[in-house]
């Protein structure tokens, strides 16, 4: 005897699936951001006690009146030097990790990462052109260098993305990555050519490429914020569509999705975020690879979890990496991209090997 589908007990509570975020994971992500933020604000060459910093930050919250006992200059260090750098670290990390997760989703490729798709090379080219053209000294309110970097980044990732697809559908894992490598080399070649012909700007170009988190202030935060909001909101709204896209274009279409439209929209939104991030931070690789993978490993593969948690843990990760970058060799600073590459490159290789085996 068989039961029909509606003979079945409909009162039994369906079990929890992994296709929703869940308050537990959300709290864990927010906690990570909070810890990273505090550690970041409390670390630096000038020793300021951790508890005082915590009090100072709490005291700035509305409705709370606390005296942290910090001197004026200590307050200035916390609010004018460390706080913007911390916020920028969080934003850049969140954007790189979130857009990495989105690229991996639309290309159905675990190795898709903004850095590997040539976004950094594109940004480098854009910035170099702007600096060489003498735009680096600022034109009033808007700094044109990050904008040029942003355009270059967008151009590179669009080129790699378009060439890495055939008839609108992604090609194999390695084809896309190799396309990214080729595009990156091409952009880097042009960038080096321009740079060598304008040796007087060499120092400025290198300073840009190595990243500007160290000199960043609230201006950079304000520059990045709109892109972060658009990218964050856009990607969080597409998590459901990304989950459907995971079954392949034909099947997604038979489930009522328009795969090409989804892919195009998500690519643009993710590229906006990633390009804006590198245009402010300089070249930081592998964050978009490490974080989404770690999240998938512990929280499951649904984008409803991967995207928001990549934002949160990516932000926390980069803020902490930045702390390491300025303390490991203190008082000298290590470029942050050196640390992420140091962790990320072996990580990339391990995924690549696992991918090739299966």
């Amino acid at each position: 005897m068989s039961k029909t589908l509606d003979d079945l007990d409909s009162k039994q509570a369906p079990l929890a699936d992994q296709a929703r975020l869940g308050i537990g994971w959300l709290s864990a992500g927010l906690a990570a951001v909070l810890v990273a933020a505090l550690v970041s604000v409390a670390s630096g060459p000038v020793g300021i006690p951790f508890d005082r910093v915590a009090l100072e930050v709490l005291g700035r919250l509305p409705l709370i009146n606390l005296d942290s006992g910090l001197t004026d200059s200590q307050q200035a260090i916390v609010w004018e030097l460390r706080a913007p750098r911390m916020v920028l670290g969080l934003l850049v990390g969140a954007l790189l990790a979130g857009s990495g997760a989105a690229y991996q989703g639309v290309f159905r490729n675990p190795l898709a990462d903004p850095f590997l798709l040539g976004i950094a090379a594109g940004a480098g080219l854009g910035a170099t052109i702007a600096i060489v053209a003498g735009l680096g000294d600022g034109l009033g309110l808007i700094d044109p260098v990050p904008i040029a970097a942003f355009i270059g980044a967008l151009l590179a990732v669009t080129t790699a993305g378009t060439l890495g697809m055939r008839r609108g559908a992604p090609m194999s894992t390695t084809t896309l990555i190799l396309t990214g490598v080729a595009v990156a080399s091409f952009f880097t070649a042009i960038q080096t050519f321009i740079q060598q012909r304008n040796a007087e700007n060499l120092r400025q170009v290198f300073a840009w490429i190595l990243g500007r988190l160290s000199t960043a202030g609230w201006d950079e935060v304000l520059l990045l914020l709109p892109y972060a909001l658009v990218c964050g909101l856009g990607l969080v709204l597409s998590v459901g569509a990304l989950d459907v896209l995971a079954v392949g274009d034909d099947e997604a279409a038979s489930l009522g999705l328009r795969p090409q439209t989804v892919r195009r929209v998500v690519l643009v939104v993710a590229s906006l975020g990633a390009a804006a991030a590198v245009s402010v931070s300089g070249l930081i690789g592998f964050v978009g690879l490490i974080i989404p993978h770690a999240v998938r490993l512990v929280a499951g593969v649904s984008h409803r979890r991967v995207i928001p948690l990549s934002f949160l843990f990516g932000g926390a990760f980069l803020a902490l990496t930045d702390v390491a970058a300025r303390t490991v060799q203190a008082p000298a600073e290590l470029p942050i991209g050196v640390i992420t590459a140091f962790i990320g490159a072996p990580f990339f290789l391990s995924i690549l090997r696992r991918q090739t085996n299966s």
Partner: protein, 292 residues
């Protein structure tokens, strides 16, 4: 509901739930791929709540017929679901009416069975594809019906071939579409699991008032399970009708180029035995001897 009432109250218990069996038709379907005419002006009609099997040699256009129906290939001609031309329906509405089980489903790595089957609810969800309580309940019911509750938390890629086929079928059933399309549902399954899946589809066809469309290589399966068999050869419809009239030694000879023997059972099901055409010139080994 017991087996007795099923046989005295046929067909279509799905009517009880307000499911109306949906008839469908391909009219003048022509598909060109890379300069080749894959389908050439095919007209074919299926009555609501019946099972159509598309058979034909490799490259005859069987899968293309399914892709045209699913809306994943561009074509000339019209496809009608009920009374509506699908070209005029929204792609989401089409997905509510036609559920597809592909031959090689792409299983996202790491996805748990429950979440995978939940994807079948996509055409019923809003722009953000959030699953409602009702969606989860339907998935739960489908998993119960298909005996997959114990696999709910298992990752789909860790299941055996037969289990995986049932999970993909579950996703299509969760779609609650009146038309169920299966592309070679039995490839890669051993004969036991083939029968499990086919008999399950046959039960669901009755229970849910489904119009079933399958492509099949196995002529005996088509002959025994389908209500209607259509033969495609080189993109054209060359025979169409009841299995007894279509699955015949003559048809098989003409289009597959092999000699076959058919048996018709008391229920009108046809089984096919294909005979070997050539034997090399060698001494046959004596029967009944001990094998080394």
């Amino acid at each position: 509901m017991n087996a007795g009432s099923r046989s005295t109250d046929p067909p279509l218990r799905g009517k009880r739930r307000g499911i109306k069996p949906l008839e469908l038709a391909w009219s003048g379907i022509t598909v060109d791929l890379g300069g080749n005419r894959v389908l050439d002006n095919v007209d074919l009609k299926v009555a609501g709540g019946t099972w159509l099997s598309l058979i034909g040699p490799n490259g005859a256009g069987k899968t293309t017929m399914i892709r045209a129906l699913a809306g994943t290939i561009s074509h000339a001609g019209t496809i009608t679901l009920g009374t509506k031309d699908v070209a005029e329906t929204h792609h989401r509405e089409r997905a509510q009416q036609v559920a597809v089980v592909p031959q090689h489903p792409l299983i996202p790595s790491g996805i748990p069975t429950f979440d995978y089957v939940l994807l079948g609810r996509t055409p019923h969800q809003g722009m953000r594809f959030s699953a409602s309580h009702n969606d989860r309940q339907i998935v739960h019911n489908v998993l119960t019906r298909l005996g997959l509750l114990n696999f709910m938390q298992r990752r789909v890629e860790t299941l055996s071939g037969g289990e995986r086929q049932r999970v993909v079928l579950a996703r299509a059933l969760a779609q609650q579409s009146p038309v169920l399309v299966l592309d070679e549902p039995t490839s890669f399954l051993d004969v036991g699991h083939q029968m499990d899946v086919l008999e399950l589809i046959a039960e669901l066809q009755i229970e849910e008032a489904l119009t079933v469309v399958t492509t099949l290589h196995d002529l005996s399966v088509a002959g025994q399970f389908a209500d209607q068999v259509a033969v495609l050869a080189e993109g054209r419809l060359v025979a169409n009708g009841h299995p007894v009239d279509v699955v015949t030694p003559e048809t098989i000879r003409t289009h597959w180029g092999v000699d076959a023997h058919t048996d018709i059972d008391e229920r009108g099901g046809v089984t096919v035995t294909v005979k070997r055409r050539r034997t090399p010139d060698k001494e046959p080994l004596p029967k009944g001897r001990d094998m080394p």
